[in-house]
Symmetry: C2
Subunit: 127 residues, 2 copies
DNA sequence: CATAACGGTATAAAAAAAGATACTACCTTA
DNA sequence: TAAGGTAGTATCTTTTTTTATACCGTTATG
């Protein structure tokens, strides 16, 4: 039994999925795996995400200690996001999830064109 | 770009999370990792899940080729669920997710008591 | 005859997640 | 002076996910 933020988990996997599940979190982590990115850069990398969702997910990731937020006190504002050590430790797992999905797609013969573990696999993981 | 069941994924990881994400799927897979289980046995193993959710998630997993459903034509009815090869190939990943959550919990000093990658880690994975 | 176990289905409601849209303040550029 | 970039916030609505509850037919048990 795990308790985290007033939620009880019977299995630590449930906790993991709360931390990286949902539509955007793993993608955000994945993109930050390569570079430190500014808010607007992240937004451009994930064109479909709304500003609200990006802000919300980044706040969650920050509160969970997976992402670091650095504010430059300047005008116009500049805020940079990067992975914490905990966040970096997720990258190999994200790569595995990505690779499994890729294999699955090939075996089930899903229409998969030019598919790699995109978009832009962190160079630290490309062997 | 992947397309599967009329949904477009930019990254295969999104596909993976659709297949195993949500509140119950990974837990169901995890429990089926050890044994073939009947509907009612699964229900007892996951006391909090409603009958409807269990049915629904099992149908999803079956449709995605991760779980096999075997109906014994007898009365009272007997239905057994087990992992397909694709489902089994997920077990190491689930173990990794579980282990990461466990490490996270310990490092963040979440209240984690007697926590292993429960409930009943598949024996095939216990090294 | 009533109840329970089996493996569900059907319907409705509640809760959570995600999206759309408008707005802010400040500065720079045209 | 108007438009665009910066990093957001505030509301509201929609969509998706999850839950609650009642119900089905069959057989066995008390």
């Amino acid at each position: 039994m795990i308790q985290y933020k007033n939620i009880q988990y019977q299995c630590s996997m449930e906790l993991t999925l709360d931390l990286i599940g949902g539509k955007w979190k793993s993608l955000i982590l994945w993109h930050l795996g390569e570079n430190t990115l500014r808010f607007s850069e992240l937004k451009r990398t994930l064109p479909q995400i709304t500003q609200k969702m990006l802000t919300q997910q980044l706040r969650d990731l920050e509160a969970d200690g997976l992402v670091h937020r650095y504010i430059y006190t300047q005008i116009p504002p500049k805020v940079e996001y990067s992975l914490t050590e905990a966040g970096k430790s997720l990258l190999p797992i994200l790569a595995t999830l990505c690779q499994w999905g890729l294999n699955y797609a090939n075996e089930v013969e899903v229409t998969a064109k030019d598919l790699t573990c995109e978009q832009s696999a962190p160079s630290s993981l490309s062997q």
